[in-house]
Symmetry: C2
Subunit: 329 residues, 2 copies
DNA sequence: CATAAGCACTTCTTTATCTCAAGTGCTAAT
DNA sequence: ATTAGCACTTGAGATAAAGAAGTGCTTATG
């Protein structure tokens, strides 16, 4: 069993290491704890025995193990209030009514990257609640026109299409058909409805129905696309633990290629998820903290990626605060 | 004056250094030149005297100076044919008719980043030839609607607006007015036309004309926005000359913050512009090669950013090839 | 018996020294 | 004009020594 004093020591070590990035020795702790370094040392040995601390070499100070961070996060950490300065920056964004929701989200996480020096990620999708509102076509020339599609929550997709060999009549007929048949359909059901209900009918009326079908299929499909934003990637280069160019490159490449799978871990449910070290899909020395948000317009995940010795308390609070503001907006 | 043999040696040194990233010694050159290393050495000394070569320390091999690269680029380099493999990858993109122009551009430069390991940049704007085609509104609820604006070349912009306190009538009146008065106007003249011709009139008819005016002003303004894409940034970490994390961070931060000014140098005219070392605004050890493209839909700049010892011949040809394909599309 | 003091022992870090390889510049010979 | 030969310079790498930080263990103590 872990004693109260051991908890206190573990907490101090984690906090000290997060702040200083250097192995923590018994002397650094005994000052704040009012006991001798020898006592601290024996407690440290016990904590190592329990698996919460590690040494980098036989005579080094202690570093939190993955289990150590985990225990800290689950049991010892207490939320840290957002500083007035940080709060102000975030409020400036959320109180700006000119900004669209998705801009608010992106900007607020940019702020987080700025103030924390971690990398932040937004992964958003249009909410399932979006339904098709209207399809419009605008002819540009004899051979091309633009299809504009809009949802009831105000999302717009469009595509310029080559209509050589297709008469304006036919296109109009198709659009009318779509407007009659699938307006009001939730965006993630459009594809199947288009295929099984609309396609058979336009097949009868329209010569080049295959081509037209594909165009609409593509445009509608775009609604279900995710948008991915990654901010503050070069912050990783500021971390003392990543002074090797090779290591940084490896991480940056993963951020470029794998972001989705990194952020969309096996979903644990719960409010805020914290993945430490090996639990992440980036690198054993990294931590990912994420939460999901959901509004009637769009939903998604926001996440902060940083070193294992991340300021957990601060980041958790920032994410919670941002999530609240998104959902209230 | 520089002799033919000196030119040959300079060229060999530049090419060797580009390939190997290590100072080039006289022995490496004399083999290919059929003369003794002592001869090469005296020629090298002459080239150093002329300012084309440098030493990293008194007894090191030679490295091209900025002037050396410049002389190579201006006088010695001959274009290098694009390899069949590379050509194939690019053609796959340009021959794909599904892809929109801007996607082609972006994708082709992604390819370049992949095959060369340099960073590539696209900076695009809608062409000045775009004129306003049509303004549409789609009401979403009692308090909000979407404005959709489209140009004759098929660009679409949109914005969801809060119309609380404004009647649908008023909005419709405004839209009709805009459609009557400024359809056909080139996109970069819309703003002033909107302000000086439309604004005074809607002022008379519409109560909340200030708010409405701002909405349309913003939407139209978005047409003149530039889009910026930077691909392959983490390639910089692969370069042997940037093994210091600090240096890389500095460069990456400049790429994040300053891309426009880096790529949009004082325009020299000409087809392809090459900026070497101090001539760039990134870093003395970097080179920027760029060219402008122009189609009737959009125009812009494509650029490759890499180390001073860049494969100039290869990159120049790739850019030229891509430019041609963009403009032919 | 938990705590503290003392001390031997480890390991990393830093600094200094040495050696080796690569390469130059100069001189003298062809 | 070219080249062979040689002294000289410098960086890179290896080795060793000294110092700092910190541990674990043993023993003493309230």
């Amino acid at each position: 069993m872990i004693t109260d004093r051991q908890k206190e020591i573990l907490k101090l070590i984690v906090m000290e290491y997060i702040q200083g990035a250097k192995p923590v020795g018994s002397h650094q702790i005994c000052e704040t704890l009012n006991c001798s370094s020898a006592t601290v040392r024996s407690e440290m040995a016990a904590l190592e025995e329990l698996g919460y601390l590690e040494k980098t070499h036989t005579s080094s100070g202690r570093v939190p193990s993955e289990e150590g961070y985990r225990y800290y996060v689950n049991n010892l950490m207490k939320p840290k209030e957002i500083s007035g300065e940080d709060m102000l920056k975030l409020q400036l964004i959320f109180s700006n009514n000119q900004l669209e929701l998705s801009d608010c989200i992106k900007r607020s996480l940019e702020i987080v990257s700025d103030i924390t020096n971690y990398t932040s990620v937004v992964l958003g999708t249009k909410s399932h609640d979006n339904t098709l509102k209207e399809v419009n076509i605008v002819p540009l020339s004899d051979t091309s026109m633009v299809v504009v599609v809009i949802t009831d929550k105000g999302f717009v997709e469009h595509k310029t299409i080559d209509v050589q060999g297709i008469s304006l009549e036919e296109v109009k007929k198709t659009v009318t058909l779509i407007n009659n048949m699938i307006v009001g359909t939730p965006i993630d059901e459009i594809s199947s409805k288009l295929e099984f209900e609309v396609k058979p009918i336009i097949g009868r009326y329209v010569k080049e129905h295959e081509r037209l079908y594909n165009v609409f299929y593509n445009v509608f499909n775009n609604f279900t696309n995710k948008n991915v934003d990654v901010m503050g990637k070069s912050n990783i280069l500021k971390l003392p633990e990543f002074s090797s160019v090779d290591k940084v490159r490896n991480i940056l490449e993963k951020l470029d290629d794998n972001i989705e799978s990194i952020v969309e871990e096996s979903s644990d449910g719960g409010d805020i998820n914290i993945y430490i070290g090996k639990e992440t899909k980036i690198d054993d020395d990294m931590t990912v903290i994420r939460t999901k948000y959901k509004t009637d317009k769009e939903e998604g995940t926001i996440a902060i990626v940083g070193p294992k010795r991340m300021e957990y308390d601060r980041v958790v609070n920032l994410l919670e605060y941002i999530k609240e503001n998104i959902e209230r907006k």
